[in-house]
C-alpha cells in the first residue's frame, strides 16, 4: 500500500469490498488486481510540477477522499425520463448503465445481423473480450485507466462480425442519477470485424444536480478494412468530474471517424489516443466543447502514425464563456516508417469573455520524411463586423450573436450523421447558447 492518504485508504477499502462481494472469472479478477496495483503505486496525477500530461488540469479536488465506489443495484429510472433527457431512438440497440450498473430492463437490443451487444459480466465470456479488454487502454496507460480496470463490474461489449453492413446504431448510455460521492467507472469495448461497418454512440449524462466522478474507459479495435462511425456525447451536470480515456487501435485500411461533443462538467478530460498500426488506415477526430461558469474541459487528443499511407484529421471547436477554461492539446506523431502520411490538425475557438481562457496546442512530431502535414489554431470573439452587418438588417445584437455561435457550432454538429443524435446535440447547443451569452462580456 503506497497510497497513504485518505483517498488511498478509501479506494483500498472499496477495492477489497468489491473483490470479496463479487467473485468473477479468474482472468477478470487478475485484470482487476493489476489495475488496482497500478493505481496503488501511482495514485492520482496531482503533482503540479513536472507533470506535462496534466499541466492544465488540476485534479486536487479528486484526491480529497470525497468520491468512492458503491457497489449496488442500478437505480430506478423511468424509461420516459431517458427518452427525454438522453439521446434516444427505439431504432438503436441501446445498453443502459445506471450509476455504472447494467440495467437489463432499460436496455433494448435488437439482434439480427450477428452483432453482439452485451454487458461484460454476461457469463458467455468470449475469447475476443478476454484478449482485447485492457490491451489497448492498458492499466499502465494512466491512473484512471488503472482505476477503471480495478473496479470493473459492468460494461458494454460490442463485437461486430466480418463484413457486417451498418444497419442501425449501437448506443452505450451511461447515466448518473445521483452524483454525490459516487465514483463510476463505465467501460466500453468495441471490436469490429474485417470490412465491417458500424455506428457506435457512447453517451454520458446525469439526471440529478449533484456532481459525481465518472472515469470511463473505452477501447476500439478496428480490423482490416473495418469502419466505425463513433460519437461521444458528454452532457453531465456542471458539478461533475469526468475523466474519460479512449484508446483506438486500427489495422490496415480501417476508418475511424469520431465526433465528440462535450458540455463542460466542473472538470472534464477527453483523453483520446489512436494508433494507426497498419498501412492505409484513416482516422478523423472531430469535437465540439462548450464551457462557461468555472468549468474546465481538457481535450487531450493524440494520433500515432506507425505505418505508411495513413491519413488523420483532428478538428476541434470550442465556445468559451464566463471564467471557464478549455484545453486543446492535440498531438500527431508520425513515426519513421509512416511514409506518405497525411495529417491535419485544427482547433478553432470562440472566446466570449475576458475571464475565459483557452490553451490550444496543436503539435506535429514527424520522424518520416515523405509526409504532408498541417496544423492551425485560432481564438477570437464573435466578429463585431458580422454583428453590425446583421444588426443593419434588423436582427438585434443578442440574436445576431446567437446566430454566429450556432453557425460556429453547426460545423461540427452538422457532421453528426445519426438523425436522432444530431437533433439531441442541436437541442443541447440551443439550450446552452443563452447561458454562454449571459456570461459573455
Amino acid at each position: 500500500m503506497t497510497l497513504a492518504n485518505a483517498t488511498g485508504e478509501k479506494y483500498a477499502a472499496d477495492f477489497k469490498a468489491l473483490t470479496e462481494s463479487r467473485p468473477v472469472s479468474d482472468w477478470m479478477s487478475e485484470l482487476r488486481q493489476s489495475g488496482w496495483d497500478h493505481f496503488d503505486s501511482i495514485g492520482f496525477p496531482t503533482a503540479r510540477r513536472g507533470n506535462e500530461l496534466w499541466k492544465y488540469t488540476n485534479l486536487a479536488a479528486l484526491d480529497q477522499g470525497k468520491f468512492g465506489f458503491q457497489f449496488d443495484e442500478p437505480g430506478a429510472v423511468e424509461p420516459d425520463v431517458l427518452r427525454e433527457r438522453a439521446p434516444w431512438s427505439d431504432d438503436w440497440s441501446t445498453l443502459v448503465f445506471i450509476n455504472g450498473r447494467y440495467s437489463e430492463s432499460l436496455s433494448q437490443v435488437s439482434s439480427g445481423d450477428g452483432v453482439q451487444v452485451r454487458n461484460f459480466s454476461d457469463p458467455a465470456n468470449s475469447e475476443s473480450l478476454r484478449t482485447n479488454l485492457g490491451t489497448h487502454a492498458a492499466v499502465d496507460e494512466n491512473a484512471f485507466s488503472a482505476l477503471n480496470t480495478a473496479f470493473l463490474v459492468d460494461g458494454g461489449f460490442v463485437q461486430i462480425p466480418d463484413n457486417r453492413e451498418d444497419t442501425s446504431p449501437i448506443h452505450l448510455l451511461f447515466v448518473t442519477t445521483s452524483g454525490g460521492s459516487r465514483a463510476i467507472y463505465p467501460r466500453t469495448l468495441v471490436v469490429s470485424g474485417i470490412n465491417s461497418r458500424s455506428t457506435v454512440i457512447e453517451s454520458y449524462i446525469s439526471l440529478g444536480e449533484e456532481g459525481g466522478f465518472t472515469a470511463p474507459v473505452a477501447e476500439y479495435v478496428l480490423n482490416s478494412g473495418a469502419g466505425i462511425e463513433h460519437y461521444r456525447v458528454l452532457v453531465e451536470n456542471e458539478e461533475s468530474f469526468h475523466i474519460g480515456t479512449t484508446r483506438v487501435y486500427q489495422l490496415d485500411n480501417s476508418t475511424f471517424t469520431s465526433t465528440s461533443f462535450a458540455l463542460g462538467p466542473k472538470i472534464g478530460r477527453n483523453d483520446v489516443h489512436v494508433l494507426l498500426d497498419a498501412p492505409g488506415a484513416e482516422c478523423t477526430l472531430n469535437g465540439l466543447y462548450l464551457t462557461t461558469g468555472d468549468q474546465h474541459m481538457d481535450n487531450h487528443i493524440s494520433t500515432t502514425h506507425a505505418k505508411p499511407n495513413g491519413t488523420s484529421h483532428q478538428f476541434y471547436k470550442g465556445v468559451l464563456s464566463g471564467n471557464s477554461r478549455a484545453v486543446f492539446s492535440g498531438r500527431v506523431l508520425v513515426e519513421k516508417d509512416a511514409q506518405k502520411t497525411q495529417a491535419f490538425q485544427k482547433d478553432l475557438n470562440l472566446v466570449l469573455s475576458h475571464g475565459a481562457e483557452i490553451d490550444t496546442k496543436p503539435s506535429l512530431e514527424i520522424y518520416a520524411d515523405d509526409v504532408q502535414c498541417a496544423h492551425g489554431a485560432t481564438a477570437g470573439h464573435t466578429d463585431p463586423e458580422a454583428i453590425f452587418y446583421m444588426q443593419a438588417r434588423g436582427i438585434d445584437e443578442v440574436t445576431a450573436q446567437a446566430m454566429l455561435m450556432r453557425g460556429f457550432a453547426s460545423e461540427i454538429v452538422d457532421m453528426i450523421g445519426v438523425d436522432g443524435l444530431q437533433d439531441y446535440v442541436h437541442g443541447v447547443v440551443e439550450e446552452v447558447i443563452p447561458r454562454l451569452q449571459a456570461a459573455a462580456d
Binding site: D383, Y389, Q391, A392, G394, E397, R406
Partner: protein, 253 residues
C-alpha cells in the same frame, strides 16, 4: 424622410474628424446620389447613418421620419426602414443566406405587427428573388458572403434589399466591380422598387450607374462636407472634369 444637419463624426478614439459638418435632406420618393473622391467620407457617412459602433457622432442631428435616430441601435434603425447595401459586406460564417434573411424578415414583420411568413411562403419569395437577382442557387447554400466573389457579394446585397423592401435604401458603391449585366440588375432592382414613399441614397464613385438610375439630386462630398448639390447634370459635369476643382476649393478653406 431623412434629415441630416451639421453632422460631425470620427472614428472611435481618434481625434481627427471624418465628417466635418455634413447636411442633406432627402424627401419621400426621392433618389439622391452622393459622389466624391476616395477617402472623402462616403462610406463613413453611410455607416454612421446605420449606427456602426466604430464611429462616434460628435455633433449634429439625424432624423428619420422626424425621429432622432442617433441614440438608436443599428437594428432599431433597420426596423424603422433603413437599409445599407455595404461596400464591403462582412462574412457571416456558419449562417446561410436563407436563414439570415428569414431572421431579418421575421424581425421586420414582427416590428410591423405582422406574423412571420411561413417557411413555405418565405422559401418561394426567396427562390424567386434569387433568380431575379441572378444569384447562383449553389451560392445560397454556403455561409453568407463567405468565399463569395466581389460581384456575388453585391448581388447578394441586392437580394437582401429586394427581400426587405426598406423605406430608405443606402447603396454604398454597389456598382463598383460589377460588369454591365450586373449593373443592369442593380439598376432594375432599384428602379422597380422606386415608389412615392421609398427613397434612395446612392453612393458612387462613378457616374456610370447614374445612366441607369436617374437621380433627382446629386451631392458632391469632399473632405467630409457636401460641397455642391445639383440635379442629374452635376454627375456628368463631375465625370468630365473630375473632383480636382472641389478638392482645391476644400483645401483652400
Amino acid at each position: 424622410m431623412l434629415q441630416v444637419t451639421d453632422l460631425h463624426a470620427s472614428v472611435v478614439d481618434a481625434d481627427e474628424e471624418i465628417l466635418k459638418g455634413l447636411s442633406l435632406s432627402i424627401g419621400a420618393g426621392e433618389v439622391h446620389a452622393i459622389m466624391g473622391p476616395n477617402g472623402s467620407g462616403k462610406s463613413t457617412f453611410a455607416n454612421v447613418l446605420l449606427g456602426r459602433p466604430d464611429y462616434v457622432v460628435n455633433s449634429g442631428v439625424v432624423t428619420f421620419d422626424d425621429e432622432d435616430i442617433l441614440e438608436l441601435f443599428p437594428d432599431q434603425r433597420a426596423l424603422r426602414g433603413m437599409f445599407l447595401a455595404f461596400q464591403y459586406p462582412a462574412e457571416i460564417p456558419g449562417v446561410r443566406p436563407w436563414q439570415f434573411l428569414k431572421a431579418a424578415l421575421d424581425a421586420r414583420r414582427e416590428y410591423a405587427g405582422e406574423k412571420p411568413l411561413s417557411v413555405r411562403d418565405f422559401s418561394k419569395l426567396f427562390d424567386d428573388k434569387v433568380e431575379a437577382v441572378g444569384i447562383d442557387p449553389d451560392l445560397v447554400k454556403r455561409s453568407l458572403n463567405e468565399g463569395f466573389s466581389g460581384g456575388e457579394k453585391k448581388r447578394n446585397e441586392m437580394l437582401q434589399l429586394e427581400m426587405l423592401e426598406p423605406r430608405l435604401a443606402i447603396l454604398d458603391e454597389t456598382d463598383s466591380g460589377l460588369d454591365v449585366d450586373a449593373l443592369r440588375i442593380v439598376a432594375e432592382g432599384v428602379n422597380s422598387l422606386r415608389s412615392p414613399d421609398r427613397s434612395f441614397l446612392i453612393v458612387t464613385h462613378y457616374q456610370r450607374l447614374l445612366n441607369y438610375i436617374k437621380p433627382d439630386v446629386v451631392h458632391i462630398l469632399v473632405d467630409g462636407r457636401i460641397v455642391e448639390t445639383g440635379g442629374p447634370e452635376l454627375a456628368i459635369t463631375v465625370e468630365n472634369s473630375g473632383y480636382e476643382q472641389y478638392i482645391t476649393a476644400a483645401m483652400a478653406d
